[in-house]
Each structure stands twice: as C-alpha cells, then as structure tokens.
C-alpha cells in the first residue's frame, strides 16, 4: 500500500471518530478507529511502519483537539505499533485468530498506557473506571479490526521474511 493511501485512511478515521461515528454508536460505545488502523496496518505491513508514523501524527492531532494534555494518545499508539511489529515476527499474519489475540492484548495495553499517562497529567480517574468500558469498546473495535483486516489482507504483498514464503 502506498503511504498516501494509508494516510487518507487515518485522516478519515480521525475526522469521523468524534463526529459521524457517534451516529452509529451501540450503547454509547464507538470503535476506536485510530487504534484499529494502527493494529491492522502494523500487523500486515512491517517495513513501512504506517502504524508508528501515522499513529504518532494523528495521535498528536487527536490530543490537540480532544484531550486536555498532548501525548497520551500518540505515545500509546506508537507503543502498541512497536509491540505488534515485534509480535508479528513470530505470528502467521494470515491467521485471523492471531490478529484477534494481538488486537485484544493491544487494546488492553493501549488503554492502560493511556490511562497511566493521563494520570501523570493530573486526571484523578482510577484504573477500574478507565477500563470499565473496555469490553464494549473492545468488542466493537475487534469487529472493525476484522473487517479492515479482510479488506486489506487481499492486497498484502508476500515478503521473503514471512515464514510462509515459498
């Protein structure tokens, strides 16, 4: 995938995250689109580091617009992307169960890091409250991750470093 195409995907996700997406919320929950894209792009594309680069850029923009401090979102997204880049070395990326496992760990990790940094930034909310909505958001996000994965997996170029390469 070309860099600009991935950039447009992240831009659209960023624009609709806090506006249009609320129109299709389920029980008040919406999927975390930036996190979904970081997970899928990092899982499928290794060398271009879309997740790291666009996670940092759009994470900063997100915090500028929708957070009271700048930093928690991009740092959490970049760390998630790095985690997935490390894990994918040992995983078959064509197996959707591996994607689900990586997604669940990434989502829990993302919200923990995000909460920890916000806490450092002065937010008094405890970890129990911060993770209270995670099951609802996580399931919704997991569905979105799976859809994006099945759209993109058809266009992934096989690479010599992949263990299934023949």
């Amino acid at each position: 995938m070309k860099y600009w195409k991935a950039g447009i995907a992240f831009l659209v996700a960023f624009l609709i995250q806090t506006s249009l997406l609320n129109g299709i919320s389920i029980g008040g929950y919406t999927p975390n689109l930036l996190l979904c894209l970081v997970i899928v792009f990092s899982f499928l594309y290794e060398e271009d580091m879309y997740g790291v680069v666009y996670g940092a850029v759009f994470g900063v923009l997100y915090d500028v617009c929708y957070n009271y401090i700048i930093g928690p979102t991009p740092i959490a997204l970049v760390l998630v992307a790095i985690f997935i880049l490390l894990v994918r070395e040992y995983a078959n990326i064509e197996n959707v169960i591996n994607l689900w496992f990586v997604s669940v760990v990434s989502m829990v990790g993302y919200y923990l890091i995000h909460w920890g940094l916000c806490r450092i930034g002065g937010n008094p909310v405890g970890i129990v409250y911060a993770l209270r909505d995670l099951p609802g958001i996580g399931i919704y996000s997991l569905a979105v991750v799976t859809i994006i994965y099945f759209i993109l997996i058809r266009k992934v170029v096989r690479h010599r470093k992949d263990r299934y390469f023949r």
Partner: protein, 272 residues
C-alpha cells in the same frame, strides 16, 4: 553514531518516542500547550466536526425513526427537559427563599437595595464527543466570539458539567468536573450554612469533606456550588451518596453522585 547507522529502525523509533515524550512533558507543565497552532487545528476541526456531527445525528435519528421509536424519543426528551427545569427551579427557589430572607434582614438593618444577579449564559452544541475514550472531554461550537473565556463554568439542565479549558474562535474544549483534580467549594441546599469542598476521585465520581465536623450532612442531600473559587454559586453538583466520619482528620467525608450524566450530553450552557 555508528550504532545509529547500523540500527536505523530502532533509532527512528527511539527518536519518535523521545519527541512524543518531550511534547507530553511540555504539555503537562504548561497545562495543555495552548498556542496559535493548536488553536488553528481546533478551529478547523470544530468546523469539520460540526458538519459531520450533524450528519451523524441525522443518521442516528433516521435509524431510530425506522424502528418507530422517534416519537417516543421526542417524548422522552421533552419529559427529561421538563424534569431538568423543575429540578433547577426547585434548587433556585430554595436558594432564593433563603437569600431573600437574609437580604430582607440586611436591607432592613442597612437600608440596602437588592440588585438582581442573573447569570450571563451562552448555549452551545457539542460538536465532538468520543465514545471510544474513557475521559469526558468534549468540544462545543461556541468560543471567544461569544465572549467565552478559559475557566468559565459549563452546565446543563441537570447541573454542573465542568469548565472551559481552552477556547478559540468558534470552539471551546470542556473538561468535566470528574476529570480534574481541582477543588470545588459547595454548600448544602437543605442548610446553606453548611459548607464543604469536593473534587474528582478515582472512581470517576466526586468526593470531599464538610468544613464543620458537626455538620448534619446526610445521604441524599443536594450540593450546590457556594460561589467561592472557580464556579459561580447555585449550580447543582450532585447528591450525597455516602457519609463517613474520619476520626483521623475529625471531618465528615462524603462521596457524591454527580447530577450530570456525562455520557448523554448533547447541549450545554456556558456561564460567562
């Protein structure tokens, strides 16, 4: 240097993380890093989000209509608004009555002329609210052009929502009272001589203590802002959920259920 050229990927990742860490540190120490650049980004996003939010709301309304719940929804909204108005009227009436009694005493003693002290309010629509985030921070479509300033109190029909953290032309960022560690002075509606202080706590509710150890505060008591400090007086904060006497501090500690449902916000008003 040689290590960097040999490990370009790791070097780039470390550099990105370092830059983000610096931005985070600066942001924490400068209370959000407000400047012209962030203002311009927020202004642009406010315009785009406003339009997209309208589309999103239309989609939601239509979907609701498909299932024939729209009429029911309107009825519920109407009843909720009516309920909110009645609750506010009740609080205001109780405050006004006590205030009037006191002012009448004062006017009799000092020949003092009572001056009406109405709030100057600006109503606003919420243009962005993230349902995938655990914080309760949102953006509204009114800003400096309406005379809004950072620190202004934000309310809805139920009570105190929070305060304006940052504002610009056509947008303002609102931080809820449960997302901040700032202390809010309050008084009981039942007996306005009883004062206390509350702030956000770990369970995303509000907790604090009464100033007087002999306070008669009890479960269900309604708290309103006292007017001391950040917020103007008379804004409903919530109901007392628990009361515990702390033998170490010799104070009555309380937890409070916020009057506002932060997840269901659509419209708010800013008190200038």
């Amino acid at each position: 240097m040689r290590w960097i050229t040999e490990h370009k990927l790791i070097s780039v990742l470390i550099l990105i993380l370092l830059i983000l860490a610096v931005i985070f540190a600066v942001s924490v120490f400068t209370d959000g890093m407000n400047n012209t650049a962030t203002g311009a980004v927020n202004k642009g996003m406010s315009v785009i989000s406003g339009g997209l939010s309208s589309v999103g709301n239309t989609i939601r309304d239509n979907i609701t209509g498909l299932f024939a719940y729209k009429a029911l929804q309107e009825q519920i909204d109407e009843l909720e608004n009516e309920n909110d108005n009645l609750r506010r009227q009740l609080v205001e009436t109780q405050l006004d009555r006590e205030e009037l009694e006191q002012l009448e005493e004062l006017s009799g003693a000092l020949n003092f002329e009572y001056a009406s002290n109405k709030f100057d309010m600006v109503t606003a629509d919420i243009t962005s609210l993230d349902g995938s985030n655990w914080t309760n921070i949102f953006t509204i479509d009114r800003g400096t052009e309406s005379g809004i300033e950072a620190g202004d109190a934000v309310v809805n029909g139920m009570g105190l929502v929070g305060r304006i953290q940052e504002t610009g032309d056509g947008w303002s960022k609102v931080v809820s009272i449960i997302d901040e560690d700032i202390q809010v002075s309050f008084k009981l509606v039942r007996d306005r001589k009883q004062l206390g202080v509350v702030s956000g706590n770990a369970s995303a509710s509000i907790s604090g203590y009464m100033m007087d150890a002999d306070s008669t505060v009890m479960e269900g008591d309604v708290l309103v802002t006292s007017g001391l400090g950040t917020y103007p007086r008379g804004l409903e904060i919530g109901n007392v959920k628990t009361v515990v006497y702390n033998s170490n501090t010799l104070l009555k500690e309380i937890t409070v259920e916020p009057a506002v449902n932060f997840r269901g916000l659509e419209k708010v008003a800013v008190i200038k």
